[in-house]
Amino acid sequence: MFSYLPQPRPRVISIASGGTGQGWDITDEIDDLSWSSVNPGGDERCNFTLKRSWFSDNPEVERGNLLRVQVGVDVVWQGRVEETDRSGGDTEQIAVTAYGLGARLKDGSFQEIFMDRDLSAWGEPSTQRRISLGSSIRFEGALSTGAQDSGAAGPGLVFTYNTFDSSTTERGEAWYYGGGVDIGEVRTDVTRLVGEADDVNWVTLIRISPDDLRTTSDDSADLNYGNSTNNSVSASTTGRKYVMVSADYAGPSTGTVKRELAFVYLRVLGNHDITPQGSQPEEGFTLDQMVRYIVEDVPGVQIRRLDEQTYVIQQAAFKDPVPHESAIDELNKLEGCDWGTWGPDSPLDLSTNGQFDLKDREPDVQHWTANRADCSDLALHSETATLYGAVDVTYEDGAGVRRTVRREVNVPDLDSAGLTRVYQLDIGKSTKAVAEARGDVFLAIWGQFAPARGSFSISVPLTHYLRGDLSPLYLRADGSNLRIPDILPSTSAFALDDTPDRRTTFPIKRVEIDCAGEVPQARVEVDQANDTLSILQAREDLESALVG
């Protein structure tokens, strides 16, 4: 039964800062409304022009006001007014720019040590510390770091002793400073590298201190000169900024005797109370655990959706202050999730908080569908520059010899173009089997079809896979994909493969809705480029750094 539905129109609401003050419906008073969203990031920017006297009181566009764009009962954009530009042509006007509430992730700074295994952060005791210990202590233990030999697994700090006398205490001491971040816990294994037995003349301690003089400290049990695993000490209070590890010999041995003691898998945790995942000593935290902690530190933004991840990140420390958004972005390089800050998705939600989502990618879901005839200014660029038919994987085997294996795949697009393209991939210390598997993963990503990127405009309804036909006003770069089913080249038009057609499915990277014209128009930027390889590479780099 035919029924003409009135075309949806956006309403623009401004709410005085603080969320409890006066609000205004300014829809009827503005021109040239546009708003945009981006992945990652969420709501990006909203612009409009208000034809008003510069000198009149314009509380509706005060900087800091919350701005909402609504279509029906849905909030399609939410942010805060940040910029106003006054100009005059035929009439006085004020151009207003608002930014999405993800801007709150850039307002403050973030510091935290989730888990720090970086041995380069450890150093010698300070001069004052040496002075305060007096002449009875001799810093015999030479400090070194890195991958270990003599059968000990994992990276660690090593104290090497060569000469002992009975008149002084031979000491090895190393310090860690967290950049001002409170230390919560320190964990380590202790391994005797040289020597055959434990020795109670050794006093080996892990200490957490508020200063670099160990005025006071939380101490571990005495680990002597034995082999021990999963040792830890926790801070009893806040304000503990330093960690000290030390091994003292106060026994009767004299002369030239080599001794080596290693603190293996030495790791520092901040005072965050997040439960580590994985098994010690290779535990860590997942992206969602850390992102939850980061976002909960931001006033005015709350977690709405946080998809659980399984990859355990063993090294994540932000000792220098960074914006919260930067910390999220840095960690997400290891997972490649879609994330953004949005307005509320329920008409019953009264809050003025930004809603933060971290979602698994859904490359096989065709959220939106549109025909190419409905698109205007359709421009897609694809190239063979990111297409490879072979990869040479270089690795270093257990004997330290560098070797290379080649993996190949048939790529019709390259064959038809008469091209042979080979990628060089270096995976560091590994085995032949792993190198072959990595090469196959690479070619599975990059050996299929030339990815396309580009943009197009659309003003007519599209089909959403759950919601039916919707105005383009509802389009957002929220991890959605868009399929244009009739965009295939003719040779593939009758493909019978029932797997989702990646060639015609485009991840949406940015959407801009422009209401300045006669009808609203959505400008959509898409990109099929697959960053799975960069994620794998980022993980490789992280794990290589951990093993030295």
């Binding site: 205004w24 005839a373 759950l466």
Partner: protein
Amino acid sequence: MALTLKVGNRDLSESLRVAHDDGLDPANPTYTEPEFSGSPAFADGQAFAGDAVNNRQGAFPLLLQASTVDALYQLIREINLELVSGVVVEYRSGSASQSTFFVLERGRLEPKYEHWLDNSAKTRATLNLWMRPYGNTGTSRLLASAAITAPTLLTATGVQGDVDAEGTLRVQFASSAQFKSNGAPFVIYGTKYPVASGWSPIYTASQLASAGFTATTVGASGRMASVYRAWNVSPTSTLPEWLYRIPIRRQDPGRYRAIGLMRHFIGGGTISRQQSHLSVYLVEETANVELPPVLHTAPVSEILASSWNLVDLGEITNPRVNGYVYVAYTGASGASALATYPVQFDGVALVPIDRNAGIMINSLRSTKKADAWKFELSAPSKMVGVRAASITAEAASQIIDDVADQLRGDYPAIAPVGSPGASGAAQMLVWAGIKSVASDLSNVRGNEPLTVDLSVRERFTYLR
């Protein structure tokens, strides 16, 4: 009936010139232009994208005259001063039985100086009026009124015109005693048109057909039809436990927002309550009920325990199928039941949202009580949005608060009878009540006694 032209309080009927070549054009229809979009390279023609609707420009040729030339010029000045935004323009042609009213945005009087006419204190002039595009009846008339104690359907019958009529929805409570301290009214409405016979989007507790999990119906005052339905779910079960299902029909396609009134008694840590959630599924009649996509998830932690809450169960699109909307509860490790039947529903409404809908749930900024409040749309001046007003004034003073920013959705509008391809009345689902605490959605009675009125001001693309 006589030819009529009034601009505000000024009657210019006698001044109108109506000769064939005078240029009288009261209802210039070119204010709307269809816009098309798409790539001609890929198809024959382009798809319709929408109408660009601008202000309507009417041209009214006049012969102005006065007793003296000075009085004529004074008349011109007075008319110019009256051509301001919000003024009502009335026009009726000589043979029409009813006037058409327009809302003026701006006007311009263009006198034509002709020396010998001027000497006689006369002047020909063209009055150009830029008006809001649609004419209207000039008044709101009551379409439907009902005394209710639950969500209801109002039938909007006999709506004239050829564009959606502007609606005024008024909700009045029986007495100020219904307001608790700091209580605030809420209203949810949605209009459906066309409506197939038998459309029934409101489900009281006894109509929530069990979907597999045992439920009991409990009598209680303050609930819709004085009952609610309760399920003995396991709060730690991580598999969906089907609570109930609501039938949908292929005759009722479109988008809906499912709003429920429920309470729960689920305890446990914050994480376990966040992981406990209600899920909504849409299932075709013959489809496998185990594998539908989840349409919406409502975490239990966002629903205040132990008190009756309005709950958003998400958006559901009926793609023209026969089937069911299923609601399931999923628990989490660490959650606990604080009552024998920890999940309870008073009722559910499927609010149609693809034509015209609105939800306002925090309508008062002050702590003062209000006995009635209403939406107003396009009063004689420009849109004034939403107002809350006290009818039986407290301390003999009216409370008026523009709360347009608290409306999620559109101002009420009703489709006219006889729109292309359809006939019959539109129906508006209205659900109003009071929540006892203004800042959240809790402690909502299911059977608040109140009166709902729906009035419309019909509109026309040409003349009435």
